[in-house]
C-alpha cells in the first residue's frame, strides 16, 4: 500500500514538475513575443549575404537562453521588415523593407498570423547559428540572458511575399 502511495506521489510530482516547466517556458515565450512587438531586440549587419539574402546578427533577451535563441529568428525577420540595421566598415546597412511607419498597426491581423509560433516568418529564415552560440554571444544582463544569433534572411522571397500580400509596393507598381 505504502509503495503504491509513494509511486503515485512521485508520478504526481513528476507531472507537476513537467507542467510547471512547460508553463514557465510558455510564459517566457509569450514575454519574448511581447518584447519583439516592443522592439526590444538589437539587429546588426554581420556580412554580405548571398544574392537575395541579408546576413544579420540579432540580440534577443530572455530569462531562458533557449527562448532567446528561438526568438532570434522571429526578431531577424521582424527587424528586416520594420527596423532595418546600420552598416559597418565594408558592409552597407539596410533600411527597413517598409517605408510606412504605421504598417504594423494597419495590417495587424496579417502580422499576428505571420509572426505566430510556426507562422510564415520561418519560411524566410534560411540559416542560423542557433546550434552553436559563441561564448561571447551569450551574456547575462541582470536576471536575463542576452544572446546573439547569426541569421540569414531570404529577403528576396520575403519582399515578394509581402508585395503579393499588398503590404509592400513593388518597384514597378503603377507602371
Amino acid at each position: 500500500m505504502k509503495k503504491t502511495i509513494l509511486s503515485s506521489l512521485l508520478l504526481f510530482l513528476f507531472i507537476a514538475g513537467l507542467s510547471i516547466k512547460s508553463n514557465a517556458q510558455a510564459h517566457a515565450k509569450k514575454k519574448a513575443d511581447e518584447q519583439t512587438e516592443a522592439w526590444r531586440y538589437e539587429i546588426e549587419v554581420a556580412g554580405t549575404g548571398v544574392q537575395g539574402s541579408y546576413l544579420v546578427k540579432v540580440w534577443s533577451y530572455s530569462k531562458r537562453p533557449a527562448v532567446a535563441i528561438e526568438q532570434a529568428k522571429k526578431n531577424a525577420v521582424h527587424g528586416v521588415i520594420f527596423k532595418g540595421f546600420p552598416g559597418k566598415t565594408g558592409v552597407a546597412g539596410k533600411p527597413p523593407l517598409t517605408t510606412n511607419v504605421n504598417v504594423e498597426e494597419e495590417k495587424k491581423e496579417f502580422f499576428t498570423d505571420f509572426f505566430a509560433d510556426g507562422g510564415k516568418y520561418m519560411k524566410f529564415v534560411s540559416l542560423t547559428t542557433d546550434g552553436s552560440i559563441a561564448a561571447e554571444d551569450r551574456m547575462k544582463v541582470g536576471k536575463e540572458y542576452k544572446i546573439g544569433v547569426l541569421v540569414s534572411v531570404n529577403v528576396a522571397l520575403l519582399r515578394k511575399d509581402l508585395e503579393e500580400a499588398g503590404i509592400l509596393k513593388s518597384l514597378n507598381a503603377g507602371f
Binding site: 549575404g49 548571398v50 544574392q51 552598416g87 558592409v91 518597384l171 514597378n172
Partner: protein, 311 residues
C-alpha cells in the same frame, strides 16, 4: 450599375498605367577615363575626349559582368533594364540600314541633322556606374558608386556607394559581385522614393519655348494687353499639378520652364508624358487669338521644346 462601373473603369486614372521610365546602366566618364576607354576629337581647334563605350564593352569583361549582374537583379525586382551594349549595336545597324535603304524610285531615308544628333543611346533614368579595385599590398577591395540620374532634370534621384571589405584571397570578380549585391537594395530604395514622389506630385519635366528667327513676333508680343510669355506662364499655372513649375529663364526669344510637374494621366485617364503635355500647349498657341504656327520636339518622357513661327 454595370454601365457606370464600365464608365468608371475608363475614366479613373487608377485603372490606367503610367508610362514606365526606361533605365540603362552606363559606365561613368571617370571609369572610362581611368581605364583608357576614351577617344579624342578635334572640336574646332580644341581637343576633347569622349567615352568610347563600344571599345569598353568589347574589351572589359569586368564591366560586362557588373552590368549583367545589375540588369539581372533589377529584372528580379520587376524592372528590366535597357542593355547599353545592345542599344549601341542597334544604333549602328540602323545607321547602316538607313545608309543602304532606297526605294524602287531611288529615294533614300530622310534624316535631318537634328535626327542624327538625337541618335544616341538614351534612357529616362541613367544608372551611372563607377568602380575601382583598390590595392594595399596584397589586400584588395572594391570602391563602388552607382548614381541614378534623371536624364531630363539632371537630378540624382538614387545613389549607392561604398568601399567593400579588404580581402587577401577573394577574386576581383567576386569582390565586384559582392559590391553590387550589397548596394543595389539601397539604390532601389532611392528609386522607389522617386517613383512614390512621381505618383504623388506628378512627373517632373522641362519645357522650352523658343522662336525661329524667321518669325516676326516674339514672346513680348501683346494679346489683349498681356505679353505672350505671361500668357504661356498662366497656361502652365493652370495645367501643372498644384501649379508647380519654375520659370528659370525668360527673354523675348525664349522661355525655360524647369521642375514642371505634369499629371501622369490626362482628363480621360490616359497616361501622358512630356509630349502629351506639350501638345496641349502647342494647341493653345495654334488657336485664336495667337494662331502661331509652331513645331514640337521631345526627348524621351521628360523634355519638350516648342519652337514658334514655323514647322
Amino acid at each position: 450599375m454595370l454601365v457606370s462601373l464600365m464608365i468608371m473603369s475608363y475614366a479613373t486614372p487608377g485603372f490606367s498605367q503610367a508610362k514606365k521610365p526606361t533605365i540603362m546602366v552606363v559606365p561613368s566618364d571617370v571609369w572610362c577615363n581611368q581605364n583608357g576607354y576614351m577617344k579624342a576629337f578635334n572640336n574646332q581647334g580644341t581637343i576633347e575626349k569622349v567615352p568610347d563605350y563600344k571599345r569598353a564593352f568589347q574589351e572589359n569583361s569586368d564591366l560586362l559582368a557588373m552590368i549583367s549582374k545589375i540588369n539581372g537583379l533589377m529584372a528580379d525586382r520587376g524592372f528590366p533594364l535597357k542593355n547599353m551594349e545592345s542599344v549601341v549595336k542597334t544604333l549602328e545597324s540602323e545607321s547602316a540600314e538607313n545608309a543602304m535603304l532606297s526605294s524602287k524610285n531611288g529615294g533614300g531615308i530622310t534624316e535631318s541633322p537634328i535626327d542624327k544628333l538625337k541618335k544616341t543611346a538614351k534612357a529616362d533614368i541613367i544608372m551611372q556606374l563607377t568602380f575601382e579595385v583598390l590595392k594595399v599590398g596584397p589586400k584588395k577591395s572594391v570602391r563602388f558608386t552607382l548614381q541614378g540620374i534623371d536624364a531630363y532634370t539632371d537630378k540624382e534621384i538614387a545613389t549607392a556607394q561604398g568601399t567593400g571589405n579588404q580581402s587577401f584571397s577573394a577574386d576581383v570578380a567576386v569582390l565586384l559581385e559582392e559590391a553590387i549585391i550589397d548596394k543595389i537594395d539601397n539604390f532601389n530604395i532611392g528609386l522607389q522614393r522617386h517613383f512614390d514622389d512621381l505618383f504623388a506630385n506628378g512627373r517632373e519635366i522641362i519645357v522650352r519655348v523658343k522662336k525661329f528667327d524667321t518669325w516676326a513676333g516674339d514672346l513680348e508680343k501683346e494679346y489683349n494687353g498681356e505679353e505672350l510669355g505671361t500668357l504661356i506662364e498662366n497656361w502652365m499655372k493652370a495645367n501643372t499639378v498644384k501649379g508647380r513649375f519654375s520659370t528659370s529663364e525668360s527673354t523675348e526669344n525664349m522661355l525655360l520652364f524647369e521642375q514642371v510637374r505634369i499629371p501622369l494621366y490626362d482628363s480621360s485617364g490616359n497616361a501622358i508624358d512630356a509630349r502629351g503635355f506639350a501638345r496641349n500647349l502647342q494647341k493653345f498657341l495654334s488657336a485664336a487669338p495667337f494662331s502661331i504656327v509652331n513645331k514640337l520636339m521631345t526627348k524621351g518622357l521628360g523634355q519638350a521644346v516648342i519652337v514658334l513661327g514655323d514647322k
